[in-house]
Assembly symmetry: C2
């Protein structure tokens, strides 16, 4: 009798995590002899813990296919970290109980570093208790910080969005610079690593001589050098674009965004590195500015997703199922770069023991010597990842995204308090 | 002998103002017997005042065609308002001097209300001094606040961007709401009128039951009613999206963005209605939030421009030239809506005496009774304006926008101090 599969989405969602879900479910549907139903966790792993499962077999093939072009997490995601097998013993035992009750033999967990760790532990526990679960982690993170895999699905689309938005806004400020705005500041995601900020550098190229100053989390912020650089750019070009990572920090380790701003009632600052940097430039150099904070817009922007990213997100979902059917356990499908130009990639795999809790930082040789830009090596790495457009279908001028029925699987167990 | 034409871009640029420039230049090139060269003002009207003219005849047909898909103002724009013929006599006299020196018989001015007024005055002065100039205003404004014309080129693309971005971010926050973000706030442009904010309402429709709370400049902000509405939505849907216009105001007339925030050095607030609203929600209701400020991204987003908007922007540019060739003066081509469903429009014209200095506000019947949403009448108005996609060409994953050579026309006059 074919075992059922469990699939869950974890952490911050992306423009293409549903493409991975699509890959998982379509691959599973192609093997009804080996995989029964695919149950999804409602709101991620919380759905497993509370036995709040979604029966994806109730969704039509068309609805599942539409996941490929729908941003966000169709089953809901969550931020809920399981700790060690000892500390979170109650939760891990519950997972086993739920998996047994619903005859689940496959655990597909779609997320970043923390979920790779959880996935690894589920696999270990399953061996220890003698209840066989093949646990496969499916990579997803806009932060691009998972090890071994050349890149993470989700990142390419954010990179494309930020590169395009920075180019478009730079054209805008260039038009206005004579009498109005001279500096445009865009804040991008990436609390720990500057991968997304680096993508802002792609706004400039041989045919687009745009002055861009990037503030990376990896580079200690030097106020005076920053002002000097912005001033130099404005004097040369009459304008300048600044891409600031939300993770950019003062030398003392505080984020730029935390500069002790208080409102009239003494409440803590309202957040945002972009307005802080804008104000600093205004005070130091007197330039008129505009600033934007892309926030969720950047990771939800399925309308301008990278075709490469969509294909890879789908492929890792599909590969997870295929690897499981070949007997794999405690692994993660990876993206292996065979060549940058022309770009060629294939699916590989990495043992979860080598993935869990390892963060891949941006190499120093990707950041220009002055610390404010990207190098050719960085361009060579990033450019393939934003290749191609994969437009969603439109109706009435709006993208037609799918909202699933998300029908619950009847419960069999008692309540579980989180 | 064919007279030359002068074209200038004025005020904040848009995703499609260059499509109007494309329409003007292509139409002029089609009539070499009647129009000599098209000179563009470098940085708008300032280029005319300082005799800093751009010879567009140096640009290839392909480069001019590429303006149709290039955002921003290709010749530079400016914020420089001419006042009455008396107060700004020196400037108006100078314009005449420059136009005479360069044998200019056509004045095409592409902008909003202020430039319509300038255009009107140039036409009046030209009659008064007996130097014939046909002055035609070409409508452009993301604010959609020009009278008589059914809508303004530039608005439809911002509306589409905001509607799509709000839908995408709403899908995202919906995914995260169980354990994380419950309220997403997006700030949009529109200091005087809520047209752009209204477009956020299009994120929801019959197939997308998304809770959206809009803060319009037209509706006095009632803090308690706002909290109650957000709470109601979060309790019903588990999340909520807020679209706040930069023009939203406290009952005493201050913008929401100006709430007296000071940084550690006592400097005035860093700006942004979105972070202010986010903080208010957090304090009053305790919901975790995320916020975005789209700023220039929204008006520069040619990558997701409305096809209708692009076509109309091009059409008003073309029509301006054709009307001039038919002898028109002191008019503005308008967009006339013949039918909403199916959408049908044609080009009309309005005398500048009726356009200048009149601001079109959003009708009250476009705002729902509770003040936080849009009505069906508003949807019927907005929906046609965001119809269709008009994707730019891509190369290496990035949109291929054109940067013109912008070769200067040799000067003939003395310097002029602004």
């Amino acid at each position: 009798m074919a075992k059922n599969a469990f699939y869950a989405q974890s952490g911050g969602v992306t423009a293409v995590i549903n493409a991975s879900a699509c890959g998982v479910i379509e691959a599973a549907r192609a093997h009804p002899d080996k995989i029964g139903k695919v149950y999804a966790g409602r709101n991620g792993i919380i759905g497993a813990l509370t036995e709040d499962l979604i029966d994806t077999s109730q969704e039509s093939d068309a609805a599942i296919a539409a996941l490929r072009h729908t941003p966000s997490g169709a089953f809901g995601s969550c931020r809920y970290k399981l700790k060690s097998l000892e500390e979170s013993k109650r939760e891990y035992d519950r997972l086993m109980e739920v998996f047994k009750a619903h005859d689940i033999g496959y655990f597909f967990y779609n997320g970043g570093g923390d979920s790779a760790d959880t996935c690894h532990k589920v696999s270990q526990l399953s061996e220890r208790v003698g209840f066989p679960i093949q646990a496969i982690h499916i990579p997803k993170t806009v932060d691009n910080d998972l090890p071994i895999t050349d890149n993470c699905p989700g990142f390419g689309s954010v990179a494309k969005y930020i590169a395009i938005s920075t180019r478009e806004a730079s054209y805008d400020v260039r038009s206005m610079a004579k009498t109005s705005t001279k500096v445009f500041i865009i804040e991008v995601m990436g609390r720990h690593a500057g991968w997304i900020a680096a993508a802002g550098g792609l706004a400039a190229d041989d045919e687009n001589d745009i002055p861009i100053v990037i503030l990376f989390p990896e580079v200690e912020f030097d106020e005076e050098r920053f002002y000097a650089r912005v001033k130099e750019m404005v004097e040369k070009y009459d304008y300048c674009s600044v891409v600031v990572s939300e993770g950019a920090k003062w030398p003392d380790g505080r984020f730029l965004a935390e500069q002790g701003t208080r409102d009239a009632f003494g409440h803590a600052q309202l957040g945002g590195a972009a307005p802080v940097v804008a104000n600093m430039i205004k005070e130091a150099l007197g330039y008129k500015y505009h600033w934007a904070v892309a926030d969720y817009l950047q990771r939800a922007a399925r309308h301008i997703a990278s075709k490469t990213d969509v294909e890879q997100a789908y492929a890792v979902g599909r590969a997870a199922v295929e690897m499981a059917l070949e007997g794999a356990n405690a692994i993660m499908p990876t993206i292996v770069r065979k060549s940058s130009a022309p770009y060629a990639w294939e699916i590989g795999q990495a043992p979860l023991s080598e993935v869990a809790n390892v963060e891949k930082m941006m190499p120093r040789e990707f950041i220009s010597e002055n610390g404010f830009g990207i190098t050719q090596a960085c361009r060579d790495y990033l450019t393939p990842l934003i290749q191609g457009e994969d437009y969603p279908p439109y109706e009435n001028g709006m993208p037609k995204y799918v909202t699933l029925k998300n029908a619950p699987v009847p419960r069999k167990l008692d309540d579980f308090a989180l």
